[in-house]
């Protein structure tokens, strides 16, 4: 089997690893759609389309074989990771801008797959957070806390036309994530035990949020079992978070939330 150089070595194992990462994300994405609504699916779809288009464009500009690298699945993983970090009710251009900049600035300007010093999805997330703070911090509440109906049609209408069903107001139906909410309430003078009795909390990470994180943990364990990832980084990160949160919670339980809350919320 002789062929001409240059050879592309990576695609086989990269494709396998990326497919497994996508598979490991599916339960979490399904639960997130169930808990936070169809907006999650809209974000995922927009991010996927734009990420693949940007990947193809950048590969073309860099004169790399588009088909080979587009099929390795890495752009799909970036799109999914970015989309599930976004609030469920945002205009369509938010995931689009995020995915385009994640792939172009976060990945290909550094030399493409394997040369990027930051995780492209997280680079895209940070860019969005810096550029559009109001859109990025207003979350639709999970199912259990909703007093209104918000279907697929409503999500599509908001994402692509900016229209809300009559009688609903964006500031009234969105809220901060539990972590943001806790921080704001703490700086307003509340104590952790008081704040934790509010409906946004409860269970580990709050209704909805805790469930999504449990599914992500499950996916992570599956990736460990299939040896796609090694244990060092997740154990280091989550362990450090849990140890520090537990330590401070033990010292001053009124000012610092416990380890379980910190690990399971966002």
């Amino acid at each position: 089997m002789a062929s001409n150089p240059p050879y592309v070595h990576t695609s086989g194992s990269v494709t396998r690893d990326m497919s497994l990462v996508v598979a490991a994300l599916i339960p979490a994405i399904a639960v997130q759609i169930w808990q936070f609504g169809w907006g999650v699916a809209v974000n995922v779809s927009v991010a996927l389309v734009v990420a693949l288009a940007t990947e193809a464009l950048m590969l073309r500009l860099r004169r790399r074989p588009v088909g080979v690298f587009l099929g390795d699945g890495s752009a799909v993983v970036t799109a999914l990771l970015l989309a599930i970090c976004l609030p469920p009710l945002v205009p369509w251009w938010l995931p689009a801008v995020g995915a385009a900049l994640a792939l172009s600035l976060g990945k290909h300007l550094y030399g493409g797959l394997g040369y990027n010093i930051f995780n492209p999805a997280m680079a895209g997330y940070v860019i969005l957070l810096i550029a559009f703070p109001p859109e990025m911090t207003a979350w639709l509440p999970p199912m259990a806390l909703r007093e209104f109906h918000f279907g697929l049609g409503d999500h599509l209408l908001f994402a692509f036309a900016g229209q809300l069903p009559s009688g609903l107001d964006i500031d009234a139906i969105t809220m901060a994530t539990p972590l943001d909410h806790l921080q704001n309430s703490l700086s307003a003078g509340g104590t952790v035990s008081e704040i934790m009795t509010q409906p946004a909390f409860g269970g580990y990470g709050g209704p909805g949020w805790g469930m999504v994180n449990a599914m992500l943990l499950l996916g992570g364990l599956a990736l460990l079992a299939t040896r796609v990832i090694s244990w060092h980084v997740p154990v280091g990160l989550l362990g450090a978070l849990a140890v520090m949160a537990g330590l401070f919670h033990g010292l001053e339980p009124d000012r610092f939330a416990g380890a379980g809350f910190h690990v399971f919320t966002f």
Partner: protein
């Protein structure tokens, strides 16, 4: 002589551009270019200082002993910066307040001491004047370009607050390029300056690469033609 002036201008605007090639004066370049007017304001202030210091350094170059030339240049530059600062404070007070510390900081702009040392101290008055103008406006062009990119992306306008520089009559000069633009805050914030500058340098390198490739092709074609003629 015209070729000398031509190469001075070419150096200032392209081949040896203080912003894109020498990467001098990056601190004010990145900090004030949140819009076109700020960039233009700082650029023109830099042009004034650079031209005046280049002329003065060139005129006194035979009087200044080699050993103390740097302190003398710094003193000359500091005097002109102070003069420009006071002038701006008097006539463009609002713009002066916006540009703030970056006006007095022109004194530390490496472009100015760099041109004094590398060019003005070794060249005649009229070349030093041309070099000051070319380098100054080359720097201003980058400031305006980067300011324009960041203003357009960041808030969808061009020449916002033009009245600070051109007087009340210029209020209408502001172009609202995109109507109802949401704004891309990142472009206005410091990361936008670094990203924009990186993209501008990349664009210049890419253009240079294309020009070099085209020149090489033209040379090859000439050679082949010449060879064909010789064999015929």
């Amino acid at each position: 002589m015209s070729s000398t002036y031509g190469s001075i201008v070419r150096n200032g605007f392209w081949d040896n551009n203080p912003g894109l090639v020498q990467l001098l004066g990056l601190c004010p370049l990145l900090a004030v270019t949140t819009n076109v007017v700020n960039g233009l304001g700082l650029g023109l202030a830099t042009v004034a200082v650079l031209v005046l210091s280049n002329i003065t350094v060139s005129l006194i170059r035979s009087l200044v002993p080699q050993e103390v030339r740097i302190p003398v240049f710094v003193l000359v530059i500091a005097s002109f910066v102070t003069a420009v600062e006071l002038t701006m404070n008097a006539f463009f007070h609002d713009l002066y307040k916006i540009l703030g510390i970056f006006i007095p900081l022109i004194v530390t702009n490496c472009v100015i001491i760099g041109r004094a040392e590398a060019f003005a101290s070794k060249n005649r008055f009229r070349f030093a004047l041309a070099d000051g103008l070319a380098m100054g406006f080359g720097f201003t062009a980058v400031l305006v370009l980067l300011g324009g990119m960041r203003e357009l992306l960041g808030q969808g306008t061009l020449l916002a607050q033009a009245h600070l520089m051109f007087g009340e009559a210029a209020r209408g000069m502001t172009l609202h390029v995109f109507e109802n633009y949401r704004g891309f805050l990142l472009a206005i914030l410091p990361p936008g300056a670094f990203l924009g500058m990186g993209l501008l340098i990349a664009l210049k390198n890419s253009i240079d690469g294309r020009l070099a490739a085209r020149a090489a092709r033209a040379r090859r074609a000439e050679k082949v033609e010449g060879g064909a003629e010789a064999s015929a």
